[in-house]
Point group: C2
Chain length 404, copies 2
């Protein structure tokens, strides 16, 4: 059943963005990306959202106007010709766009996702304004989730847990990685997974995760995560391959799904038989890291502290080179925000210093890669509460072992 | 089994791009998008491809360098710091980047997909050059497929046909649209569908297609295609819903899959029982349009002629308002190129005047939308041959009828 946010949700989101616009000296913000528009309007139709630093936003829609009218929670109008968009904005927001001042009129935009071609056209269409990169500001607003959003992520967690159970129940020797993920994906889809996962990073793609065993899991890839996977082809160079899953090798089941727009991300390690002792020890280090991370997952902690602590623990275990990928293919983070997109802020990485706040949701994923052998690790999605954290992931935490 | 293109394929692609660069007065082209990089290198790792108008290209890779070295068919080097990229290019291509001339050094770029943020950074990093929008040029090069590419699309067509058969075999009254697509998707995934579909258009997303019945199929959406679908949520406002499929209503099964990077797109209409006569008649008009389109699908035809002919036939049948969506939610094309992405060039739409060429692959999809009732239509993917066209779609053409 579709659940909708309470009415005040839209106003709260608007308020939080407007506060940041004012702090950053921006007169408004133009949002072009479907997910960003959805976040502030409740609708994902083609068009633009203009949010003034003060006053109510307007959703300018190209298509489908009928659906946008039905869904949108903010003022919604038809977008005229893009060339006239500046005039349309000026007529709707004269106090923003008509100015006597010599200072340039600075308007934020989601320049991390907006294509350059569109950026050039918008700059021409709105000559009154100077578009500034507002990506960081928008990502910061989205990083703190409402109770409604947390409920959506929890429902996604429930679906992922059920799908993992179905996958484990079907897991057997010599089935291919592709066969295993097909079972898991089908279990998620039947329960309402929307059929795709959203990722903000340019050129980053994600299926429903990485299900990969033995040396195939340890193959490096472009994907901005600790586990790559061989993939089905150089045209799909990540996640599952056609390799059959063997005995006594680590099976990484890193999966997510998207329910009503919200994603979950979780990882469990499985084995048919027994893990080699080296991998067993690394798995235990991953568990120890996630336990210690839970201590730090509370309001006030700087995200980069979590990464630093994990690095230290990996080093103490003699596993530095294997942590979060191997050697030069390592990624430099321990986890990431998650919500409408799977790669939200904050990132648990160097440079992320704004303290954690209640309502943030974070996937924490310590993993160790052993070329030729595989990847072990664990990943939970957590909610930052007033006093600490609460896991949203529902799958029991253990090595999923199929006896032989 | 993974099939790779013959060695000369890479050289042919390079030649075709270089010819167009010279025609357009560009000294080279910088490609940032994963699909574009894959097309010219055989690898899809993170980085940039620089193609000079004359001489050999270089693939500058950030991650994974190991995998790029293994897969790439062109010169491949590590990308240094992005800030120094201009210097790296200058040292690799002095004859391009060091010039005595006062004319600006024009370099094409895939600005229709490259984010604005990256565009600004690249412009700073490569101050010697002026980036120009090279999207049209790149899309033109890709529109003509090689025998290898046609074989990939044919293999995708085979998978889609098998999946349709499985879906039809399972189709029964009161199953939901979601249940039906889950069966079809699972059938495709088990046969090697990579788990996602690629679409170039900004904010456009595609699952494995639209499976939608009755009035739900006729709901308008942002999606740039003739059939929308209710979707599972405003956060996934297209394709399947939880609506149960009823008797005597049209079931639109518009599906695609992606094998080794190449996509197919096809549509069939199904019904449990019998179509209402109005929809039956519209379906027959769609079939008549596709038959007449086949006559025009040959080298020399302007793509826009196909759209014009279809419009005329829809008008003659009294169905203008229902053609390719209803009323103001109509889309203005009859079909589209298809390959690595589902929305390739040419588009069968006004303004596309460059004549069809042998090797082009096109999805032709006449459809009629009846609000409150549903969508009927048919879609085949065709190859333009030396003398005409050949369907790549393998599913038999008929209304798939489940007797009651």
């Amino acid at each position: 059943m579709q659940i909708f946010p309470p009415r005040e949700e839209w106003y709260n989101r608007q308020q939080r963005l407007q506060q940041k616009l004012i702090q950053d000296g921006l007169k408004g913000c133009l949002i072009s990306q479907n997910v960003g528009i959805y976040y502030f309007t409740g609708s994902m139709q083609t068009g633009y959202l203009f949010m003034p630093a003060d006053g109510d936003p307007t959703y300018y829609v190209r298509r489908s106007i009928a659906r946008a009218f039905k869904e949108s929670q903010v003022r919604t109008v038809e977008l005229g010709s893009l060339r006239q968009f500046g005039k349309q904005l000026e007529s709707d927001y004269p106090s923003v766009f008509i100015s006597e001042s010599d200072n340039p009129l600075l308007i934020g935009a989601d320049m991390d996702v907006m294509p350059a071609q569109l950026y050039v056209r918008l700059a021409e269409a709105i000559p009154q304004a100077q578009l500034k990169d507002g990506s960081a500001l928008l990502r910061n607003v989205r990083s703190v989730k409402s109770p409604y959003e947390i409920d959506c992520i929890s429902r996604a967690a429930e679906v992922a847990a059920a799908a993992l159970e179905e996958g484990i129940a079907a897991l057997q020797e010599d089935m291919t990685e592709l066969e295993l993920i097909a079972i898991i994906e089908n279990a998620m889809r039947k329960r309402g997974h929307i059929g795709l996962m959203r990722m903000r990073g340019y050129n980053q793609e994600i299926m429903t995760g990485v299900v990969s065993a033995g040396e195939a899991a340890a193959e490096p890839t472009y994907f901005d995560g600790p586990a790559g996977g061989r993939g089905l082809s150089p045209a799909a160079p990540q996640s599952v391959s056609l390799r059959p899953i063997g005995r006594n090798e680590t099976i990484l089941i890193d999966i997510g799904c998207c329910i009503d727009g919200y994603t979950i991300d979780q990882t469990r390690t499985a084995v048919i038989g027994e893990l080699p002792s080296e991998l067993q020890a690394a798995y235990e280090t991953a568990e120890a890291i996630i336990r210690r991370s839970e201590q730090l997952l509370r309001p006030g902690t700087k995200p980069e502290q979590l990464y630093a602590q994990a690095l230290e623990m990996a080093e103490a275990a003699g596993l530095s080179e294997h942590f979060m990928g191997f050697g030069r293919d390592q990624v430099k983070f321990l986890g990431h925000g998650i919500g409408l997109e799977i790669d939200e802020w904050p990132v648990l990485a160097r440079g992320f210093q704004d303290p954690l706040e209640p309502g943030m949701t974070l996937a924490v994923e310590p993993k160790f890669t052993f070329p030729g052998l595989g990847v072990v690790g664990i990943e939970n999605t957590y909610l930052i509460t007033e006093t600490g954290c609460r896991p949203l992931t529902q799958s029991p935490e253990r090595i999923y072992t199929i006896q032989i």
